[in-house]
Symmetry: C2
Subunit: 331 residues, 2 copies
């Protein structure tokens, strides 16, 4: 009989198929393929993007020319725009407002065909430190309530450009999915006076069954309530609501575990398409929050979301996270 | 500047792109294609499925043989199983239970390549009346809290079999997405003493801008807060939380509007993949509910859901529902 597991943060149920022992080779997936051509994110094509907002580049090289390692530009087709006011208003029973926000693209590498697992450790560190720089800059704009960093890699994951990049969106309201996580985490904290994510880390380290990798500062594991096959969360062991306050040592070990985790997944599924999302607490001035714990949710595209998931919010995971962790660790 | 619109039921925000005037031909989509072969849902192959639960068939023909128009069977690979108990239990901070439930397949037509828009009106009526029969049967099992009827049509919509069918799932708990809708609708009702869906119908009929089709009992329209391009809701004008109590006249006009709505969409996007979901109130004995109003949500697969939507629960709709309704009405 299958098992129902309940996510203790948002209260979402997942149907974990414990009956059919799925193997990695049972998943059909659409691999990321490359169509070389004129890519606006490639080295030498700097003039094809909006001007640089921030950049890591060799000393003496000019903005918007070669010489860079990491580049941040405005999204050429932004979902939200930075000028203007929110102007919330009603229309009969409906509410609406202007599409205020920021939408940036963080180009992680000059190389078209390199994913994170193909980069050198210090290259991963570079773009992760740029995550912090952009977050620390955007947090100053008092119109924004939430910063969302996410990555769509491969066409099956909805990437419109194949060159590796992270998108950064600053939102004028706390989005629904985040608000739900916050409500769940806060009510756990209010009741137990402990962070639910710290408790998850404790339980995962005790059970050891779902761990993918571990270092001094981070843990990478297949969550007990995985929605997707080979879903992985990367979580700092030290409590903090925000990644933007990480020190250099932490960035270094995050780069290491992120790169190695993706390499482990790609060892099983070469050229996999995937999404990852940085889950952080809403902007709260300079104050950290006790009840929320930032982390990365890595979601491989191996199955399709269909009517059942859309209607219920239930997910069906055809492979248990315990088995997925075993495969990732070649056990 | 784009527009942010807030769904008054669940509180979800959608970014509606009002800047770029997208046309239907701007959407690339993967059409439903047919690979003829041995299909367990085809006429003559009745022995390839689990035995019939209910059937509409010619008098004098035997169960599990040809002679049928609509057939309901158990899902051969059920996500949930009908035998046993829920047995809710804890595991450290996690909750879990057995995968109790029902998972049926309702085969709408004996013809492999026919979608709803290709059927005769009375054939659509036949399978819709079977929706009611199955719901009225499953509702008697006191272990179930919710009945979900949904349809994945085409491989891009996650259909594993191309022969048209509806899936029926009976769940031992009210799923998260439904619970959220209920909370929103109920708090609107508590405050205004009116059903929010009745108010939506009133506003849509007044504004006329987003209506696709209308008959005596039903309205089909592109909702103001569409998450997807060409999303359409079909809603009964008369208040009720459940479709299972529909009379023959209502079933007849639902068949008409459902078929014509899908035909209008397919007129623009031939062989489109799509999902539709029947949203109903949770099982509540024999009592109807005042605050919830059943309806069908039709979601064409024209765009991909990626990291942004996963992380935020925000959606980005590149075409306004007002424009979509115009295209559907050839204006």
């Amino acid at each position: 009989m299958s098992e129902l597991r309940r996510d203790p943060i948002g209260g979402r149920w997942v149907i974990v198929d414990t009956d059919k022992p799925y193997k990695p080779q049972d998943f059909e997936y659409q691999p990321q393929t490359y169509h070389p051509g004129t890519c606006p994110f490639c080295y030498g094509n700097e003039s094809m993007t909006p001007p640089e907002i921030e950049c890591i580049r060799e000393q003496g090289t000019a903005s918007n020319t070669p010489g860079w390692q990491v580049r941040v530009v405005s999204n050429k087709f932004p979902a939200l725009q930075i000028e203007g006011d929110l102007d919330r208003r009603g229309l009969g029973i409906y509410d609406m407002s202007n599409g205020l926000g920021a939408h940036e693209v963080l180009i992680e590498t000059p190389y078209h065909q390199k994913d994170i697992s193909d980069l050198l450790n210090h290259e991963v560190e570079n773009f992760l430190s740029m995550y912090c720089r952009r977050a620390n800059d955007l947090v100053k704009d008092k119109r924004f309530k939430y910063l969302m960093f996410f990555r769509n890699y491969g066409s099956a994951a909805g990437a419109s450009l194949e060159h590796a990049h992270t998108q950064v969106v600053a939102l004028p309201m706390v989005p629904k999915n985040v608000a739900e996580e916050i409500i769940g985490a806060k009510s756990y904290f209010d009741y137990r006076e402990r962070c639910i994510f710290c408790d998850i880390i404790r339980q995962e380290m005790q059970e050891q069954e779902r761990i993918v990798l571990e270092n001094k500062f981070f843990l990478s594991f297949c969550p007990f309530v995985s929605r997707f096959p080979f879903e992985i969360w990367i979580m700092p062991k030290k409590h903090s609501g925000y990644f933007r306050t990480m020190g250099d040592d932490e960035i270094r070990l995050l780069a290491e575990i992120l790169k190695e985790t993706i390499a482990k997944v790609k060892n099983i599924f070469p050229n996999l398409s995937y999404n990852y999302i940085l889950h952080v607490a809403p902007i709260n001035g300079d104050t950290d929050v006790e009840y929320y714990h930032w982390h990365i949710e890595f979601m491989p595209k191996l199955t399709q979301v269909a009517g059942f998931e859309w209607g219920t919010g239930f997910y069906i995971d055809p492979i248990t996270p315990e088995r997925a962790a075993k495969y990732l660790n070649n056990k």
